[in-house]
């Protein structure tokens, strides 16, 4: 991503953000609320239109036409803060919808994928349940499985645990950790600092619509250079 600018009306939310993510890399974005982290993530797969700036995948520039946007969304999975499962569909239907409609995969293959993904997120017995019958943590794990069913090259996580009760956060984080161990390329926006430190290859600190600092987690969390990073980390750690 190069020099992403995004405004909502007169409010400039992103003031030129450039981020390069390598294959297999886990990048965690942290920063105070309102700094543009989530907006930036949504710009990556163009859920928000960017005013200015370019997105590249595997070196190819993504154009703003429908075909490119759809191809790219099929290549990059996304997990939302509020899960956004389809409430009128069962777990099986939620996960299989993308492969069936967008990829046109045969049913046999879809069934295999759904079964293995449900096993991976530890919810095989919930295949025929509806989202409202599941806890928040279970819903988020299904949402991860739904994104993975598209066989994405990379995954975006937009504060995946912010809407969860504290006791349910762990089960979601452990699924994400498994993905990291398997070498999935991921960009994660989170407020879970311990998790960020543990999982990330690189931490990006955003404030006020810009990246103010980035580096390996050990350095960012122990010896940040930017005063704003220090203030932010202190305020987060005080809360805990």
């Amino acid at each position: 991503m190069k020099d992403i600018h995004k405004s909502f009306g007169h409010l400039e939310v992103l003031k030129g953000v450039t981020l390069n993510v390598e294959k297999g890399e886990v990048v965690v974005i942290i920063g105070p609320s309102g700094s543009g982290k989530s907006t930036f993530l949504r710009c990556i797969n163009k859920l928000e239109k960017v005013n200015h700036g370019e997105v590249y995948i595997d070196g190819t520039l993504l154009l703003d036409n429908r075909h490119d946007i759809r191809m790219m969304r099929q290549t990059i999975g996304m997990v939302f803060q509020s899960f956004n499962l389809f409430p009128h569909l069962t777990v099986y239907e939620n996960i299989s919808l993308g492969p069936r409609k967008a990829l046109g995969m045969p049913k046999q293959q879809i069934d295999n994928i759904v079964d293995s993904l449900l096993a991976k997120v530890g919810l095989s017995e919930k295949k025929q349940s509806y989202p409202h019958q599941l806890s928040g943590g279970q819903q988020q794990r299904i949402a991860i499985a739904r994104a993975l069913a598209m066989q994405p090259k990379a995954m975006l996580f937009d504060e995946p645990t912010s809407a969860l009760d504290p006791e349910l956060i762990g089960e979601v984080l452990s699924v994400i950790k498994t993905l990291a161990q398997e070498g999935m390329t991921m960009v994660i926006v989170t407020h879970e600092m311990n998790f960020a430190r543990e999982i990330s290859d690189r931490v990006v600190v955003m404030a006020d619509g810009k990246i103010i600092e980035e580096g390996p987690p050990d350095i960012i969390f122990t010896a940040p250079k930017e005063p704003r990073t220090k203030v932010f980390l202190r305020s987060v750690i005080d809360k805990v």
């Binding site: 919808l97 994104a147 069913a149």
Partner: protein, 215 residues
């Protein structure tokens, strides 16, 4: 009350009632098709497509049905376009009903959280796929009660077509009154006939409302 005079002309009333049923059925089908289409465009992403439909809805909701029937039935021949009673009725009820249904569909679609659109987009669905598989099934839960409620109104509104001479049940009833001079008896019978179609629909609304509440 003496229904024997009405009974004598039962064939006429039944004939009118069948016409009312036919007109109601066609009005519901055509206005639903056109209303859903308009509702999609009203809530759709394209501004160029949205505005003409917005104007259409406001125009047809903003003028009396009676006037619309007059305008088309007398206005079209005046402009040199021949139009039959049947064509007028179908044309007007489609546009009139479509305008209300478009608003019902639009508000149903807009009641669906934006996250549902995001999630559907994030798994690569196209806009039509998103509408059909994700948004509409959820929007219908919201829209079905007001939709069926509107159908009840539309069935009763078909009686207005009698003023341009459409031979539906009210118009046929008036013919029977002319012969029998028993307006009260005839109108009572016709009211009961309307009630027989509308009441089950009303029960149906209550039933789906109860059913969707438990979900």
């Amino acid at each position: 009350m003496n229904l024997s005079a009405v009974w004598e002309y039962r064939i006429v009333i039944i004939q009118g009632f069948l016409v009312t049923l036919q007109l109601s059925g066609l009005a519901i089908i055509c206005s639903t098709l056109f209303g859903f289409l308009s509702g999609f465009f009203l809530s759709g992403p394209s501004r160029i497509l949205r505005y003409p439909f917005k104007i259409y809805v406001e125009v047809f909701r903003g003028s009396p049905l009676l006037l619309q029937l007059f305008m088309i039935f007398f206005g079209f021949p005046y402009l040199g376009i021949p139009i039959t009673l049947f064509q007028t009725a179908i044309f007007v009820f489609t546009l009139y009903g479509g305008a209300y249904i478009a608003e019902i569909v639009r508000s149903g679609i807009e009641s669906i959280p934006k996250g549902q659109f995001d999630a559907a987009a994030s798994i690569g669905l196209t806009y039509p796929q998103t509408m059909i598989t994700v948004i509409l099934p959820q929007a219908m839960r919201v829209s079905l009660p007001p939709l069926v409620g509107f159908y009840i109104g539309l069935i009763k509104d078909t009686s207005i077509a009698s003023v341009i001479g459409y031979m539906e049940v009210v118009k046929e009833g008036q013919a029977v009154i002319n012969v029998t001079s028993r307006p009260f008896d005839v109108y009572i019978v016709i009211s009961i006939l309307y009630f027989i179609i509308c009441y089950p629909l009303s029960l149906f609304v209550t039933w789906i409302e109860r059913k969707t509440q438990t979900l």
